[in-house]
């Protein structure tokens, strides 16, 4: 594999969990709710995948990941939708709780030293014909099947959000929940579903880390991906396809290190590790135009 191919392959690999989590968060934020607890959904999903893959294979693993992510997000939804508690604080608490919970369960179930246990992983399935396209073929079409599901999911969410009645209702809530409620939209119900959907995809993102990438669980393996996904949503302008583009950009910058290492440049590797975060900050300054969040994001008008 050439350095370019390794770079492209690394880009798709890094982008897959990020894009999944960010797509889910896009739906949540379009309902006016910012879920900082996404980091928690990812780590809980990773642990859920680790446990359930051992029981019934990789697909049950991913199902378990989605269910675990949705479950922890249901707790978040209880606080922000039911109690109208502050979203940032609730989300931060959920993330801290999830990191503690998974570490505790892991040490209890698999021993304090946490000997690296491995589980079966999802093997890459190459798509006939498409995978033999020069240069990009293997990067795009010789991936674990979950990546192909992502290719279908992004346009589906776009279509649902912009071409269906319920998608319009979701966006209306994000702009102004009172107006949406006056128009007959069930605001709390939709917000609950949007949070659960976001949590489910966040959980699956965590599951991907386990079943399609590392083949094991490690404490704190979410490594800030939930927060990065939230930044990716902003970079992608709260639009499903924009979010995919943003996730790919972030992943490509992260994968640059493979390229530069191959070229033998003597730049400290930490510079490459920090680069995606630096570029995210620059991107957030609106070099590509000002980001306008959904009108009610993170705020609660009295209803």
């Amino acid at each position: 594999m050439s350095a370019i191919e390794a770079f492209l392959e690394g880009t798709i690999r890094t982008a897959t969990p990020l894009a999944l989590a960010a797509l889910g968060e896009t739906v949540t934020e379009r309902a006016g709710i910012i879920n900082i607890g996404l980091e928690g959904a990812i780590i809980v999903g990773a642990f859920g995948a680790f446990v359930s893959t051992g029981v019934g294979g990789v697909w049950l693993g991913l199902a378990g990941a989605g269910a675990s992510g949705a479950l922890i997000s249901a707790v978040f939804a209880f606080f922000v939708v039911r109690l109208r508690a502050d979203q940032i604080i609730s989300g931060t608490a959920i993330s801290l709780f999830s990191l503690g919970l998974t570490a505790t369960l892991y040490r209890q179930m698999y021993g304090a030293t946490g000997a690296a246990l491995s589980i079966p992983t999802m093997i890459a399935a190459s798509v006939p014909v498409l995978s033999s396209i020069p240069l990009i073929g293997r990067a795009l079409f010789d991936q674990p099947p979950i990546t192909y599901l992502l290719y279908l999911l992004a346009p589906s969410i776009w279509w649902w959000m912009y071409r269906t009645h319920s998608g319009l209702a979701l966006r209306a809530i994000g702009e102004d929940p009172r107006a949406a409620a006056a128009a007959g939209v069930g605001v709390p119900r939709t917000q609950l579903l949007a949070v659960l959907f976001g949590g489910c995809l966040g959980g699956i993102a965590g599951g991907v880390l386990v079943v399609a990438q590392s083949g094991s669980f490690a404490e704190g393996m979410s490594a800030g991906r939930g927060f990065i996904a939230i930044a990716v949503v902003v970079l992608g302008r709260w639009h499903p396809l924009g979010v995919i583009a943003a996730a790919l950009t972030f992943a490509a910058v992260s994968a640059l290190q493979y390229l530069f290492q191959a070229m033998g440049w003597a730049i400290p590797y930490q510079a490459f590790l920090a680069l995606p975060y630096v570029l995210t900050l620059l991107g957030l300054t609106g070099i590509t135009g000002r980001a306008v969040p959904p009108g009610s994001l993170g705020k609660w008008p009295t209803m």
């Binding site: 608490a93 503690g100 919970l101 505790t104 404490e219 800030g224 927060f227 939230i230 975060y277 900050l281």
Partner: protein, 305 residues
């Protein structure tokens, strides 16, 4: 010193960074600034303090310690100023920018301890051990309890006084309670004040890092913070953002975390359970707040004068 005494001292040592970062978080939240970057500000503060302590140790004499602590605070303030400036100029949400800066700080420290600040043999990813003039004095002999504890308490009392009794404190409370009302009624430049508060918040977190290096670890290395800056959010919230309450909750969390480590050692109960308890306490306080309905966001409504 008895074993129990040493354990109490260890809990207080652990409480120092929690109190300081808790004060940093509490101050910013009071002003409606969501500084989630205490972790990163602590790390750059630790790095700056370590660098200054090492470079100046030969000729600055007893001055090396105060200079190192000030350098740590300045570095923390600078790190926060990046997020403050991004917010002021480009309306970048500080929730996101501060967390991004936390990651950058982690990689920066990793670079420093493997590069310019690495110990001379170039084997271990850490700095040399700090010389004695750069170390904070102990306040109880034969324990690890250092003068940083006194600095943390003094700072808490000062902040409590500033927030309660001074005009600046009133303005900070005003912009936290309602920025629009503060802007129109009290003629407060909200953007400017929140920028300043953001930087002071960073300075306190940076000082926490400096005190950790000069009082406890005596060297800079990766993982110098087990997430103090994140626990700080719980410390501040449970105290209702009240500086003196933060001292109490910081000590409480210090006890919780040191006993969790002891429990892991003695009874095989995972120490990570401390994180769950801390997060549960935040959630419990949210339920309490929702039940009370006496809170706007999370700051208790002031009684009308």
């Amino acid at each position: 010193m008895t074993a129990e005494g040493a354990l109490v001292a260890d809990a207080l040592v652990r409480a120092v960074p929690l109190i300081l970062t808790g004060l940093a978080v509490g101050l910013s939240f009071r002003a409606g600034v969501f500084n989630l970057g205490a972790e990163g500000q602590l790390l750059v503060g630790a790095a700056a303090s370590a660098a200054v302590s090492i470079r100046l140790s030969t000729f600055a004499g007893f001055l090396v310690l105060p200079i190192a602590l000030i350098a740590g605070a300045a570095a923390g303030a600078f790190w926060a100023a990046i997020a403050a400036e991004l917010k002021r100029r480009f309306h970048v949400l500080e929730i996101i920018s501060t967390i991004m800066l936390n990651f950058i700080a982690i990689h920066l420290v990793s670079f420093l301890v493997r590069g310019p600040l690495q110990e001379p043999t170039h084997i271990y990813p850490q700095t040399v051990t700090l010389a004695h003039p750069a170390r904070l004095p102990l306040i109880i002999a034969n324990t690890r309890l250092h003068a940083g504890f006194i600095i943390a308490i003094a700072l808490a009392f000062s902040l409590a006084w500033i927030i309660r009794r001074t005009e600046v404190g009133f303005r900070i409370r005003a912009i936290g309670a309602s920025p629009m009302a503060a802007e129109s009624a009290a003629m407060i430049d909200v953007n400017r004040l929140s920028w300043v508060v953001f930087c002071y918040s960073g300075a306190i977190a940076g000082l926490a890092g400096a005190i950790e290096v000069n009082g406890v670890t005596f060297a800079l290395y990766e993982n110098i913070s087990p997430g103090y800056g994140y626990t700080a959010i719980a410390v501040a919230l449970i105290a209702g953002l009240n500086p003196l309450g933060i001292v109490a909750s910081g000590i409480f969390f210090g006890v919780l975390e040191t006993s969790a480590s002891a429990f892991q050692r003695d009874f095989a109960i995972p120490s990570s359970i401390a994180g769950m308890i801390e997060a549960s306490l935040i959630l419990a306080s949210l339920v309490f707040a929702a039940a009370q309905k006496r809170y706007t966001l999370f700051v208790r409504r002031e009684k009308p004068a």
